[in-house]
């Protein structure tokens, strides 16, 4: 676990990104767009760790591509968003733990679908094997304790895995002992998704060539806040269950229901919109190999929300147990795949921002 994960990375990706970074460093025209460029201009030569850090600072807004006078057919063939996207994904795969599963899902929507099927099967099996202890509502299909027995580890394992990965990342990019200011600075930027607004606050160049648009930022906010609301719904239910002894099913005007409903809607619509944006964008400015895996991941993410809403809609019908299995299967798969899919990007990005704040503090 202490081996340097950088050595697992693809030298071709690193080399190409380094070649382009050196051109940018002689040019500097894009300095105002995002945090990649000021970090880049602080160096003269780029180690593998430096390139990895730059890659994780980039959020693929593509501003620097459309602004670049050196894109193909020019012989310098600049395409920094794509070069950094490849390094970024490779870094997530290389730092992930455990390794054998790490390189399966980023590039393959098929593998994600397969995982989903296995997730369903596991839940169905659990329903069959454990059955119900005669509870009400959903617990009529699966007892509360059985749910906890399945989902507690499914929640904790990915967190452990991510923690290992981020630790590897931190050491690879040369991170040193943290100060509180590094963290608060980075969180402030992440919460506002400030960089997704681009240097002049008009958003990304994503769905229509060089037109600036806030869509991508808004869609990310929708999905993120939708997801957090759903999470809050589950958390509030947990608190009600254990602290106040209030057991599900809950009424419509209850925290879990309201948070879940709003969150689920935001989250589901956000994912559909995200796919629509992606379909309009130019694949060659991202990680082409990861296209299928990314779409597969968003589909899974959206399906988690959608099946949750369906479960809500069909909760009083005979379809409930089937819907419950489908929803729980999707949630289970989603949790377990978190360290190995695009879901990991938020964690890496935050870490990269913290490291960037630290760099700025140390370089003064």
């Amino acid at each position: 676990m202490q081996t340097n994960a950088l050595t697992d990375m693809n030298p071709d990706f690193l080399g190409e990104a380094r070649r382009q970074a050196e051109i940018c460093n002689a040019c500097r025209y894009c300095e105002g767009y995002c945090s990649v460029f000021p970090a880049l201009h602080a160096d003269r030569a780029f180690s593998d760790g430096d390139i990895t850090q730059l890659a994780n600072l980039c959020h693929n807004c593509r501003g620097c591509y459309y602004a670049c006078q050196y894109t193909a057919p020019h012989e310098f063939e600049l395409n920094l968003p794509a070069a950094l996207a490849e390094v970024r994904r490779d870094s997530w795969e290389s730092f992930a733990w455990p390794q054998p599963v790490a390189r399966r899902f980023h590039t393959s929507g098929g593998m994600i679908a397969l995982a989903l099927v296995i997730g369903f099967a596991l839940i169905l099996f659990a329903l069959r094997a454990l059955g119900s202890a005669g509870g009400e509502g959903f617990y009529a299909a699966m007892s509360h304790n059985a749910m906890v027995a399945i989902f507690a580890p499914a929640f904790i394992l990915p967190l452990v895995s991510l923690a290992i990965s981020l630790r590897r990342y931190w050491h690879s990019v040369g991170g040193t002992t943290l100060k509180l200011a590094d963290i608060t600075g980075a969180f402030g930027r992440a919460a506002k998704m400030q960089d997704l607004a681009a240097g002049h606050g008009e958003g990304c160049n994503f769905e229509d060539e060089d037109r600036f648009s806030q869509s991508r930022r808004h869609v990310h906010q929708m999905v993120m806040y939708g997801f957090l609301l759903c999470f809050a719904a589950t958390s509030s239910a947990t608190v009600m269950h254990y602290v106040f002894g209030l057991h599900a099913p809950y009424a419509f005007f209850s925290l879990p229901k309201l948070l879940g409903l709003i969150g689920g809607l935001l989250h589901t619509i956000g994912c559909v919109w995200m796919v629509a944006l992606k379909l309009k964008s130019d694949r060659h400015l991202g990680d082409v190999q990861a296209w299928g895996g990314e779409i597969g991941f968003i589909a899974l993410l959206g399906f988690v929300g959608f099946s949750g809403l369906m479960l809500y809609a069909l909760g009083q019908t005979a379809l409930m147990p089937a819907m419950l299995a489908i929803h729980l299967g999707a949630v289970l798969t989603f949790f377990l795949l978190t360290p190995f899919t695009k879901m990991a990007h938020g964690f890496y990005r935050l870490t990269a921002l913290i490291r960037d704040a630290q760099r700025k503090r140390l370089q003064g």
């Binding site: 050196e22 051109i23 040019c27 003269r44 602004a67 008009e202 060089d210």
Partner: protein, 462 residues
């Protein structure tokens, strides 16, 4: 619309053309842009720019403090040594102040002065993302205003009959097309990409020049109009040329091929002889004359030699330097006589004196004594291995020979103004700049005169 349904044809697709087209469209004219480049290369030299020089009486946008008309004009006179049309120059300077908000309103975004260019924070406003993002923003705004664009539309001829342009010929998708717009704006740049023309003006040396910007500014329209007696300004051998990395591509190498290491080096020619004071002044003030100095050397090449202690004193450039443990080895890599290089360096080192006052960013007066040419600042002996080398070549930015215009950007013949022909940008910059160049003034000229040309062309057409 068919190509013939437009009131105004604008020839060219760079900054000057776009400023003219947007202004004319806002005045209600139907405008067609004819750009010879494909879409990927639209925007001519303008897509390589990074800033424009802007007068301001108080802090304005990204610009700090103030920059008065007189100071701006004085700066200009210094570089042109008085070869300047004062009336037009002051018009450009005065109007630049209102250009900045106009540019913002048409989609351009500015950013604080780039790292490494702090000296320009007061005088030059930097485009966020550089010139290509400016060009992109203008194309978007122009489209919203109803301006149409034909790419790969190469204008070959403007028919001048007395005081009127009767028609325009251009080729597009293998077709020859003739249109008869009411007004015509020429904004198709200089002729620097036509090596034969450069060679006629400069002699065979021009074959070794590199062209820093677009390969599409070949002066086709300029030559066509001059042949028909349209008034000319400037000399064919006047141009803005700088010394750039000799490994740069023939065309379109742009900003990244610049080399900032000369002040910390010695520069020798292919015979390993020094030929000019490398430390005469700070590099931003000297890089333009080095274009000409190198052009005057055999094979139009210079070789820069620095040692390990100077490597980190200048901005990194796009190509890594040659690197060798001995000067002999370095000479071999450069293809110059090793014994002579060693001798030149020894003589130079022997002429260096006390270097304790060395200061990389100021004129430090650390000078040589007893050699010619002297090095009058930053003269430190070349002693610490590894040694590094770059080659220098002449990189032409743009040519000055162009169309003579008046304060309305209008072209003329010996018999008086041409009723429906205006020019803007590089193609008429010689009307203002007789020689020399002031960083950021090219975009100022293009913006100011582009807007004037658009206004006048629309007035005539409406």
């Amino acid at each position: 619309m068919k190509p013939n349904d437009y009131d105004i044809a604008v020839i060219g697709g760079g900054n000057a053309a776009l400023c003219a087209a947007m202004t004319a469209a806002e005045a209600g004219a139907r405008v067609l842009i004819l750009e010879t480049a494909p879409k990927a290369y639209r925007g001519g030299n303008s897509r390589h720019t990074r800033n424009f020089r802007c007068m301001h009486r108080a802090p304005l946008g990204p610009l700090v403090e103030a920059y008065s008309e007189d100071e701006y004009f004085a700066d200009l006179m210094k570089v042109t040594k008085g070869k300047t049309d004062e009336h037009l120059a002051r018009l450009a300077i005065r109007t630049s102040e209102e250009c900045l908000p106009w540019m913002e309103a048409h989609g351009v975004r500015f950013q604080p002065s780039l790292s490494g260019t702090l000296s320009l924070a007061r005088t030059n406003a930097f485009f966020m993302g550089g010139g290509k993002s400016l060009v992109n923003a203008y194309y978007r705004t122009a489209a919203k205003l109803g301006v149409d664009v034909l790419y790969e539309a190469n204008v070959t001829h403007l028919e001048l009959n007395g005081d009127t342009i009767e028609w325009i010929d251009f080729t597009h998708e293998d077709q020859d097309i003739r249109i008869t717009p009411k007004s015509v704006v020429v904004a198709s740049g200089g002729f620097q990409a036509d090596t034969d023309w450069l060679t006629r003006a400069w002699g065979p040396a021009a074959k070794n020049f590199l062209i820093r910007g677009t390969p599409y500014n070949r002066g086709v329209v300029l030559a066509d109009l001059l042949e028909q007696g349209v008034s000319q300004v400037g000399d064919a051998d006047q141009c803005h040329a700088v010394a750039i990395d000799g490994r740069a591509p023939k065309f379109d190498g742009g900003i990244v091929t610049r080399l900032d290491c000369v002040p910390f080096s010695i520069v020798v020619n292919k015979d390993a002889q020094r030929f000019y004071d490398e430390g005469e002044d700070t590099w931003p003030k000297r890089y333009a004359i080095w274009g000409r100095l190198v052009a005057a050397q055999p094979d139009q090449v210079g070789h820069v030699v620095i040692d390990a202690k100077s490597l980190n004193l200048f901005m990194p450039s796009v190509f890594p330097p040659l690197k060798a443990d001995t000067l002999e080895e370095l000479a071999e890599m450069m293809g110059i006589p090793a014994d002579k290089l060693v001798k030149t360096v020894e003589e130079f080192n022997a002429a260096c004196g006390d270097t304790s006052n060395f200061h990389p960013t100021e004129l430090d007066g650390v000078t040589t004594t007893g050699i010619t040419p002297a090095k009058t600042n930053w003269a430190r002996p070349i002693t610490e291995a590894p040694f590094y080398g770059y080659s220098l070549r002449t990189g032409v930015t743009f040519t000055y020979l162009g169309l003579k215009v008046d304060e309305n950007a209008q072209c003329s013949t010996a018999d008086g103004p041409i009723k429906n022909l205006w020019a803007a940008g590089e193609t008429m910059a010689g009307s203002i700049l007789g020689q020399g160049y002031l960083a950021g003034y090219g975009m100022t000229i293009g913006t100011v005169f582009g807007r004037i040309a658009g206004r006048e062309a629309a007035n005539h057409a409406n």
